[in-house]
Symmetry: C2
Subunit: 311 residues, 2 copies
């Protein structure tokens, strides 16, 4: 008999897509993108037991799927629709990189997506629901076996505008909600993030993570607040996927440690922030595909140094 | 012979004024304000050897001056102009508290202010130049004896618009510059704060502090970056004076410890942030007048807890 480290299995859902992106640093056309892609790549540095549930057309490159499989991502839940096209998004970032215009959103295969969670993934203990129609996120929850340890939901202002009641329903079923500061204000009707968190934690989740981009992230769990800074960077090349990469690092680290203490949740936020800081250094998943564990540890240490003082 | 803790003396210059302020929480008329007032009150919790240089009219309440003297503020450098009025500012904050409209600026005594640093204050080792016309800040530096250990300058975008060359001249003569993020971008022409800091540190200062309001403060010294968060607050009652209170706590703590190591500079930033977090809890100097050392230490501990994690 041998001792084995058992990583808890992780289920990720969200888009797997093509992006055309323009930033002040350049333009890339039809590169690999999608929330679930970023989440899975980021999480793959912490666990190799990942089940992905998503949909693509037959235009999606096979070598990209192979590369994910090589990272431990099980694609049994990825539907490949023959003769159809993958989801496509195109956007242009403003000079400050904090805002962007969406130029094109072609739903394609996503227009009629009915996620099917493979039998073996229904008992996954950690669930990352990437940004998608709240009703689809709910459909995934309906298929789980009820033994989950942590369900994390990411969403955005668009769903607050067009599907608020559906969104509130699915929010009430998860443990952790991740949104940005403006979304926290919109969802709660409170400007102060402290008050916003109180309102949102009444909706069901035990934990709220407020992503503030270059200003870091705030974690609210019960009455406790934790502040993870963002690393000040000389260049933010392309912010696309940073939030998803954060989420992937966060839940990947938790799945690999299987420790949901308040202390470990804080560490997971820092891990997620560190992963996001890599993501923005290059277009698409370029930087996320070339990381080493040593680089990740070094980056996490930088986050520690950044806020460390003796009193 | 007895051992004595010798606090280094601190010289503060800036406005001593009346403010009329409107925030979503209410309106106060002709309350005590001014950069130098906030700086001095805040610093007085750390040192009682403060020399203030400023100007008021004979409308300024004597009991307010007495209250400052009781805190160890030497007012020999405060000119009281008979028959004239004190500087007056009126502003209204927007709902988000991050922006405000200036409604009235009556320079009054400030229109013709020629600061005279009293003989005994010319050898002060710590100098806090509050926001004022750069030429006036320069006049104060001209009167010092050259034995200073730390000179800190605060300024604002207005002077970058109307007196950039004067401003650059005085910036080249100080050790520490404190400005907000938009001002750092304007002064440097760089959007990235990391790049902005490089440009600004070439202008003369050894240290740049970028104040980001509810997002905390960034400290750049050499190649090192330190991030002090702001305490997330349920209510920001009135942000007026928060930056000056930060500066007062920062330099007051340094003058009292007389330790300019990189580590102690970081502590000073946290002390300043803690003081600023009290300032915004009430209008005018109300909160700053009623603090206890125990409350301050407790608040500093909160800042430590806010960012603490084990890796």
């Amino acid at each position: 008999m041998r001792l084995q480290i058992i990583h808890m299995s992780l289920l990720t859902i969200g888009t797997v897509a093509f992006d055309t992106i323009e930033t002040p640093y350049g333009k890339v056309e039809r590169v690999i993108g999608g929330a679930c892609t970023y989440i899975s790549w980021s999480a793959s540095y912490f666990t190799n037991k990942i089940h992905l549930v998503s949909v693509v057309g037959d235009d999606f490159p096979e070598e990209e799927l192979k590369a994910m499989e090589n990272r431990g991502v099980d694609l049994a839940g990825l539907e490949i629709k023959k003769g159809e096209k993958s989801f496509f998004w195109s956007g242009r970032y403003h000079n400050n990189m904090n805002s962007r215009d969406t130029l094109v959103t072609d739903l394609n295969v996503l227009a009629d997506f009915h996620p099917v969670v493979p039998e073996k993934a229904r008992s996954a203990k950690y669930i990352m629901l990437g940004n998608l129609t709240p009703a689809i996120q709910g459909m995934v929850l309906d298929q789980l076996d009820g033994t989950q340890k942590l369900i994390v939901l990411d969403t955005m202002n668009f769903w607050m505008d067009v599907a608020l009641e559906e969104l509130k329903k699915v929010i009430s079923r998860v443990h952790v909600l991740t949104i940005n500061d403006e979304e926290a204000r919109q969802l709660s009707g409170e400007h102060s993030l402290v008050k916003a968190a109180r309102v949102i934690l009444e909706m069901g989740p035990k934990i709220l993570i407020v992503k503030k981009g270059e200003h870091g992230a705030l974690l609210f769990q019960g009455e406790e607040i934790f502040y993870a800074p963002a690393l000040p960077l000389a260049e933010v090349f392309d912010p696309t996927g940073a939030g998803d990469t954060f989420a992937g690092g966060f839940i990947g680290y938790l799945a690999s440690t299987d420790d949901l203490s308040a202390q470990n949740i804080k560490k997971a936020i820092v891990v997620g922030s560190a992963m996001a800081s890599f993501c923005v250094e290059d277009f698409s998943l370029n930087r996320l595909k070339t990381l080493s564990p040593a680089e990740i540890n070094e980056r996490i240490q930088k986050f520690k140094d950044l806020v460390h003082f003796e009193m």
